[in-house]
């Protein structure tokens, strides 16, 4: 019935945080619930009503027991006497105990159990239970609506945030971490809110309601019960604190083991060929053993919470049975009250263990919420100009003119990545960019598609300043093949048609043939319908590059950007692709980055970059004649061939 090991396991993920942070995060979560505040108040009202009805049930049932017991005792007393007379009669005959018990009852001696009255009382009890359950259902129904709306909204916020974050954010935050925030943390938070919020509310209300009923029935017995509550809590907390340590160890060791498994499987073939199978298995066994030890301790410690609380609950039961029995026998309490009390005390421990479990869960949920909020609070990309009415006059068929005027861009304040670049590219020209690693080649084309905003100077597309255009307007003029070859889970066809999902099969195949994708696609079992997984492990890196080239071919925009697009493709295929590209480039402007200089020999203009600056500029012959950086780069390529 309790959250048990799962709740505790989840709780163990929560890193320790300052209470101030917790409070701030909790406040934001509450903020998130604001639009639903009326529904939440409604749910609270429904919950209070439901608990009020539910907790009065045992009391009414107790009354039924009283009617029964009264009748039973009364029947044994001589008829026609009064209760007072019967009491005195018993005392006179030495039944002191019975006499005092009767003193506390309402009975008519000689008359048996009043079945009608019992029926009425039981009818009332049944009604109270039914009404209570109905309210409880309505509360649960309302809460389900609220939590799902909130979580759906939260997921949407996260997704929208992803599209508004500047690329710098993705550069400076590991993908794995961002991913974990938007998936694992959101999942965890959903579970917490879904299960925790509603249950916590009910549990807390039940504890309060039961406590109130107990106090009402018998303050003395209530004191007994009240002592056991903190006891149960303290025991739970003490054990939880210890198991928390073990859970932390368990998660760390799971991480270590995970790392070992990942590493071994990633280097599977090497492990085999280098004869390391036995060594790896024994290392795994060692780590596995360590994990077992901590997970056993964690499970055991968290597992004894339930029996411990059960023990305290039983203790409570015994004390109530004994003390209650004494009180009834002494006429200070009715039997029905004791029966009701026993039921209450049973109802009491359950919500307490639940609250303990939910507290753990809530802790971990808050930790996740904090990470999600941190993500949502990251600064947005600068907004596009809302009143953008400038037009580029680019219609997708002709080339475009691209102008750089004193463009400077830096990541860190003191080291410019692009330093005062001036360039005017006319429609239809092919520009090649070469230079050593870190010269700023990729950064330059990233500025072109406005992945980053320039710090100073002007970038113009057909004479219109980028700042007067929206990002989408700029990007619609470009087709780009990036260094990293992103494919998504879907068919090969869908991946090629990503930029133009409406393309016909013929167009897709034409692009595939031009990019030399068609050949290998046909060796795959399902051809173009072959499903790729996210890391496209069924394609080689060269094949993935060809696929992304086909994607850009199909996109067919005015400006084509190829950033090391063929680095993993063999040179002969590269030449063939270049021929296809040359056809495609007719009338289009293109930018080509390549480290194989043979690739770009025929470009109209070759830019040689170094340290963020354009150091040389011209066609192949002119640059060779200069005997500068280009000349050196070009010759070093063939150094190996001439030895």
């Amino acid at each position: 019935m309790t959250m048990g090991p799962m709740g505790a396991m989840r709780g163990a993920l929560a890193p320790p945080r300052s209470s101030q942070d917790v409070r701030r995060t909790a406040r934001r979560l509450v903020q998130l619930l604001r639009p639903d505040r009326w529904r939440l108040w409604g749910a609270l009202a429904l919950g209070v009503t439901s608990v009020a009805f539910m907790v009065s049930g045992p009391q009414i049932l107790g009354n039924a027991t009283n009617v029964l017991f009264d009748g039973l005792v009364a029947k044994r007393l001589p008829a026609g006497t009064t209760q007072r007379q019967a009491e005195q009669f018993l005392r006179a005959h030495g039944h002191q105990q019975l006499a005092s018990m009767i003193a506390g009852m309402h009975l008519t001696p000689g008359v048996g159990v009043n079945i009608d009255q019992m029926g009425r009382v039981l009818g009332a009890a049944a009604l109270v239970y039914l009404v209570g359950a109905t309210f409880s259902y309505l509360q649960g129904y309302t809460m389900a609506g609220v939590t799902q709306r909130v979580m759906s909204q939260m997921r949407r916020d996260v997704e929208t945030k992803l599209s508004r974050l500047p690329l710098r954010y993705f550069d400076s935050h590991p993908h794995g971490d961002v991913l974990s925030r938007v998936t694992n943390d959101i999942d965890n938070l959903t579970t917490t809110i879904q299960q925790g919020l509603s249950q916590l509310l009910t549990s807390a209300l039940t504890v309060i309601g039961v406590l109130a009923m107990m106090l009402w029935i018998s303050p003395l017995l209530a004191v007994v019960a009240v002592i056991t509550i903190p006891l149960a809590f303290v025991v739970t907390v003490l054990i939880a604190r210890r198991s928390q340590v073990q859970f932390a160890a368990q998660w760390n060791r799971t991480g270590t083991l995970n790392g070992l498994v990942e590493e071994t499987h990633s280097g599977h073939e090497l492990v085999q060929v280098f004869g390391r199978r036995d060594a790896t298995v024994s290392e795994f066994t060692r780590q596995n053993r360590r994990l077992y030890e901590s997970s056993f301790r964690a499970q055991f410690l968290s597992g004894i919470v339930q029996p411990s609380v059960q023990f305290i609950s039983n203790l409570n039961y015994v004390v109530i049975a004994v003390v209650g029995g004494y009180r009834v026998a002494s006429g200070l309490l009715s039997l029905g009250a004791v029966t009701a009390f026993i039921q209450y005390s049973r109802q009491f421990t359950m919500p307490i263990t639940q609250i303990a479990g939910q507290m753990n869960m809530l802790q971990s949920g808050l930790a996740s919420a904090e990470r999600v909020f941190e993500f949502l609070d990251a600064p947005d990309e600068r907004a596009d100009r809302a009143d953008s009415d400038a037009r580029t006059g680019v219609d997708g068929t002709g080339g475009a003119r691209v102008t750089f005027e004193h463009v400077t861009f830096r990541y860190e304040a003191d080291e410019p990545l692009i330093d005062d670049v001036n360039l005017d590219v006319l429609p239809g020209q092919t520009i090649a960019i070469v230079g050593p690693t870190g010269a700023g080649k990729t950064t330059l084309v990233n500025l072109l598609v406005r992945f980053y905003e320039i710090d100073s100077g002007h970038l113009r597309l057909n004479g219109v300043d980028y700042r007067d255009l929206t990002r989408d307007e700029v990007r619609r003029c470009f087709a780009m093949v990036l260094q990293d070859t992103w494919v998504f889970a879907g068919s090969i066809r869908d991946n090629i048609a990503y930029a133009r999902p409406e393309a016909t099969d013929d167009e897709v195949i034409a692009a595939a043939i031009a990019a030399h994708v068609d050949n290998f696609v046909r060796t795959l079992p399902a051809g173009y319908e072959t499903q790729l997984d996210e890391d496209a492990s069924n394609l080689s890196s060269g094949q993935r590059q060809l696929l992304t080239i086909a994607r850009a071919f199909l996109a067919d925009q005015s400006v084509l950007i190829l950033d090391e697009a063929t680095s993993n493709v063999d040179t002969r295929t590269e030449v063939l692709i270049q021929e296809a590209m040359a056809r495609l480039r007719q009338g289009r402007t293109s930018f080509v980055i390549a480290h194989r200089l043979s690739t770009i020999r025929h470009a109209d203009t070759i830019l040689v970059m170094d340290h963020g600056r354009i150091v040389e500029q011209g066609d192949h012959e002119a640059l060779m004649a200069r005997r500068g950086l280009y000349f050196d780069l070009y010759n070093s390529q063939f150094a190996g061939a001439e030895t």
Binding site: Q97, L179, V261, V318, D472, M480, Y498, G527, E534, T571
Partner: protein, 577 residues
Amino acid sequence: MLTRLVLRHLRPYRRPVALLVVLLMAQTVGNLYLPNLNADIINGGVVAGNLHYILRTGVWMLLLTLAVGAFAVVAVFFASRVSMAAGADMRGAIFTRVQSFAARDVNAFGTASLITRNTNDVQQIQIFLQMALTVMVIAPIMSVGGIIMALHEGARLSVLLLVTVPVMAIFIGAVMIRVIPQFRSMQLKIDRINQVLREQITGVRVIRAFVRTRYEADRFEVANASLTTTALRVNRVFALAMPAMMTILNLSSVAVIWFGGRFVSEGSMPIGNLTAFLTYILQILLSVMMAVMVAILVPRAAASAERIEAVLDTTPAVADPSTPVTPSAPSGLVQLRDVVFAYPGSERPVLENLTVDFEPGATSAIIGGTGSGKTTLVNLIPRFFDATSGAVVVNGVDVRDQALEPLWAEIGLVPQTAYLFSGTVESNLRFGRPEATDAELWRALEVAQARDFVATMPGGLDAPIDQGGTNVSGGQRQRLAIARALVKRPRIYLFDDCFSALDAATDARLRAALIDETADATVVIVAQRVSTVMHADRIVVLDDGRIVGVGTHHHLLADCEPYREIVISQLGAAAAT
């Protein structure tokens, strides 16, 4: 699936499990006996006004409570031990099995999936086991014991159980049937959302470059709306389930007092028994509920069990033959005889009718376009794959007739993507031959042109290496991977396009040094750069899975058109004359 897996892994723990069952039984019996004692307090103490009797029974109850508590703690001890140990065994079994997998088997599952199976899925089973070994044992004993005790307290009243228990069971069953499929579909929808988000993160540049943000947002919205609808439905069913079950419980209590009250007033049942009966019926119904709560874990655990069994049931595509043949005179000779390789179900084979020898003491190079089958060819030699037809013969014996470990001992592999293991430079170099001396390590580093940079790394040979080798540059990684193969001193070297991240000068120096180092060995080099292969003793030109030329650089230039094209594309027309 679940039962099979669980039973198999519980077998070594038969004794603790038996002990556990006994303990849980004792605990349950104790718990069941408590209300009975309470009935005694009412009947023999309260009704008779015997305070001494109340106290004495109270002491009994106290002792029983202590015993029950002790049993419970010991039971949890064994339950935790058995469930965690069985889980650890499962992890061990999965890992060991995967170690015997062929590359193709590992790819079929995917590394990520294998990790999930080894940790998350086993965890699911552990959670299930832990619950099963406590609640699932207690619940039936509690129900049966409760029924016996209820019969004992009032046989006629127990007829009520014939109504309430089936009502409870049917209701819960109905809820489960509705909820479980939706639960499953909810999990799928969560996975889908996570996939969309993951793609948005990894593909952020492409998405923005192609202006597909809106499209992605729509894709997400569809997944999100679908998840919300399902989650809402599931949670509303749950919102109904709890109050409904409580109502069944509570109305049962009302019915007990209504019918029991009549029996009591007729004198056919003592009133104390009524209170006890009330507790029993609650316990019976609660244990039914508990069992159901655990049953909710079953589908999830069953799915995990299926995924674990899939790994354990996979017969490695490549395995030791039943009677391995040991080559009599190992020389390092590698022969391909009419080798065809095709992926199952594909339109065209990757390799077609290859026949070629790679001889000891010679350097053979393989060159060809992307997807021409170069890596596939190399992978056939250590049996990462088996040929569809034809034979790969190493040291005069078909590789399929040799035991794997001794075959692998012959081979030094440098794969296309240089992969280093976390540890130190030294631990990586000694990977294939732990007993190698430091001098040998430095010698290998020198040949691999890695001596200089290793010497300047903080700690030298002890310099730390991250998983995958991500803390060194691509070129350094490749050179360390080459050194690692050299330290092993095998008869056969396979260099799979592993010079690509080296600049031309380093490439040339390295190949020159290699010639001395590998003088007697069989060397197979796969490359895309002509400069890397042109000095090889023999060049094999692959095109679309076929050998289109074998010979020296000059020989091929003269009469192999595809080779000429490659040379021209890289070195210009002048080099081809």
